[in-house]
């Protein structure tokens, strides 16, 4: 079996954390709609590990649920200083890092069904989907192969 390790960085407000669901291969694996589910550490990282078949097609989806317009705070120069968001921080299959591939080829679709290219930074409610295959060397080969 292969192990998928998905690490998300959570950008929280002082009184609010992102709420989201994680699906792996179309099954709900984690439901982070309750504060108690969070692993509380300095980096605000959420880590999910899941075993996958050695060979096959896979996907993971992150569905971001609770962003409101008021959850983005900007200063006088309109620079963002607080934003409720979820960031794809790292994706690994066993010891092979595919973070770059996940960020760059994953599809982030907002609730209006529009795709947003934010390189793995989920700043609005929607679903980030990443499809891949194992063995991962074949996935990497295919990604590099297509023009």
């Amino acid at each position: 079996m292969k192990q998928l390790e998905l690490m998300l960085k959570l950008h929280s407000l002082p009184d609010k954390k992102p709420e989201f669901l994680i699906y792996i291969n179309n099954k709900e694996i984690k439901n982070f709609t309750f504060i108690s589910e969070y692993a509380d550490d300095d980096l605000n990282l959420c880590v999910v590990k899941q075993e996958l078949n050695n060979i096959g097609n896979h996907n993971f989806k992150i569905q971001f649920l609770n962003k409101l317009d008021t959850d983005l705070l900007v200063d006088k120069s309109r620079d963002i200083f607080v934003d409720l968001a979820i960031e794809i921080y790292s994706v690994k299959i066993d010891d092979v890092d595919i973070t770059h591939e996940a960020r760059s080829t994953g599809i982030y679709q907002n609730i209006n069904s529009l795709n947003e290219e934010t390189f793995g930074y989920m700043h609005t409610n929607g679903t980030f989907t990443f499809n891949f295959i194992t063995p991962i060397f074949l996935y990497k080969r295919n990604i590099n192969l297509i023009k």
């Binding site: 050695n54 060979i55 295959i133 063995p135 074949l138 192969l145 297509i146 023009k147």
Partner: protein, 503 residues
């Protein structure tokens, strides 16, 4: 009904006739009571798809993995493999054997294994042949090891499969399995290939181009009505150890079959299947002069004026191969020979351990012309030590012999010199002795290299020489215009790729 083993030949190879590998392994397994199906997927692939627009790009990628595909080409290819995998799974073999002739079969094999295992991971997959035990920089290990570790292949048989594949099936061997080399007696005892599962009608229409089967390749219209090419083996390994060739890694020792038994196989295929054109798989057919003579003698006596054969050949002098050999070859049906000339320079040929001298090449060319035997010279541009003067000697020998061979000589620019993994040129001793540094581009180490001992021999220079030869040949022989133009195109693409990657 479940079959014990299904064996397929993986694309990409050029094909003008049934691939011998699966048919031979089928015969070996059936002899031991193991039910086996054998299919020639490489020919099927060529036969079915060569008219489609995606075919050229995908097969170019098989051979040069740095080439990119469009999404459309990639999707088409994935559908093809998925469909083939489905057919395999429907047959439900306990074991799927995949035979790879060369590195050009690796991409297809990776994908076929993926799709088969995805559909049914109970099917055990065994790979074998010459194209899998090859180091890959990208993974830091041999390719077959990667596939075994990633569980998309269960067993990789390194070396000869005629007996070891039977062992793997009977004893459920997994992992990378090093088979022992067969001796001359064992090699002589291998059964005659069993082509009964092949759709022979497929080979009637020749649509492919081929560099080794020159007579058909040079002008595709020439191929119409030509006989199907059957493969036959009279020896394995090579008496030389040329630095650009990986034969010695696969078959360290030269061994040969009894010449009379090889002739008997040819006669059997002629009588039972109407086979009348044979291509020897040998690295060189005249490695062992005694069995080569026996083969020719038997064919000349028992099957006079009935068959033709082609083979790879080494240029030898008159002392080793007096004229009577050529006369006998001619009577036995020797139609065409592929002669590894490689360079016009003795200095280059000696450095690459080819052994043949300019005198040997001249004598061989003269004899083959005298006995009306076609010949193709392989030429490599930009060998490690090659200077401008060496290259000029190559151009000179080509220009000398082309008008003196009655149209029987074809000069084939093979490629620029590549430092391929598994060849002596990739060994540390060679790299150190020649102060040869490799620039690994996108995981590929063999293309962009430079020798500090000969620093003007850059990739650009090698490509320039290669194109100079192609251009000259285009000017003197229009029969294989298409092939030469393809070679120029591929060379130009690769040059652009090297420039981009190196930048």
């Amino acid at each position: 009904m479940t079959v014990d083993v299904m064996i397929v030949m993986a694309p990409f190879t050029y094909s003008y006739g049934p691939s011998m590998g699966p048919a031979l392994l089928k015969a070996c397994l059936q002899k031991e009571g193991i039910s086996t199906l054998a299919y020639d997927y490489t020919s099927e692939f060529n036969y079915k798809y060569s008219d489609l627009p995606e075919y050229d790009s995908v097969t170019a990628w098989f051979q040069s993995p740095e080439i990119k595909l469009t999404k459309q080409e990639f999707d088409w290819y994935q559908d093809v493999i998925d469909d083939l995998a489905e057919k395999i799974v429907q047959q439900n073999p306990k074991i799927l054997g995949i035979s790879l002739l060369s590195m050009s079969s690796q991409r297809f094999t990776e994908d076929l294994c993926f799709f088969v295992k995805k559909k049914n991971d109970k099917i055990k997959i065994v790979i074998g042949g010459g194209g899998h035990d090859i180091f890959q920089f990208e993974h830091g290990k041999n390719w077959n090891q990667v596939l075994v570790e990633e569980n998309i292949v269960d067993t990789a048989v390194v070396g000869e499969g005629e007996y070891s594949f039977v062992d793997v099936v009977k004893n459920n061997i997994v992992g990378v399995y090093q088979s022992k080399q067969l001796n001359n007696v064992e090699l002589s005892e291998i059964p005659i290939p069993d082509y009964s599962d092949y759709d022979m009608s497929m080979y009637d229409t020749v649509k492919f181009t081929n560099t080794s089967n020159w007579d058909r390749s040079l002008d595709e219209s020439d191929a119409k009505g030509k006989p199907i090419v059957y493969q036959v083996t009279s020896s394995k390994g090579c008496v030389k150890n040329c630095v650009f060739c990986d034969v010695a890694k696969i078959w360290p020792k030269f061994r040969f079959r009894d010449g009379k038994k090889v002739a008997a196989e040819i006669i059997h295929l002629n009588k039972t299947m109407g086979a009348n054109y044979f291509s020897f798989t040998d690295s060189l057919i005249n490695g062992g002069l005694r069995p080569f003579r026996e083969l020719n003698k038997s064919l000349a006596e028992e099957l006079p004026n009935s068959i033709q054969y082609e083979a790879q050949f080494i240029a030898r002098g008159p002392k080793e191969m007096p004229e009577e050999y050529f006369e006998l070859m001619s009577r036995a049906g020797c139609y065409a020979l592929n002669v590894g000339v490689e360079s016009g320079s003795d200095s280059v040929r000696m450095h690459m351990k080819k052994g043949s001298t300019r005198k040997d090449v001249d004598y061989t060319t003269e004899m083959l012309t005298k006995y009306n035997i076609r010949q193709v010279w392989n030429i490599i541009a930009g060998y490690t030590t090659e200077t401008d003067d060496d290259w000029q000697q190559t151009m000179d020998i080509v220009k000398y012999w082309i008008p003196r061979t009655n149209g029987l000589l074809t000069v084939m620019p093979v490629s620029v010199f590549l430092v391929l993994e598994g060849t002596p040129a990739s060994d540390h001793e060679y790299l150190d002795a020649n102060k040869l540094k490799r620039n690994v581009l996108n995981g590929y180490s063999g293309i962009d290299w430079i020798s500090e001992n000969n620093p003007t021999n850059t990739y650009e220079k090698r490509a320039e020489r290669f194109i100079e030869l192609c251009d000259y040949l285009l000017g003197v022989n229009s029969r294989y215009k298409n092939l030469l133009e393809k070679k120029i195109k591929l060379n130009t693409k690769r040059l652009e790729w090297v420039r981009n990657e190196a930048a």
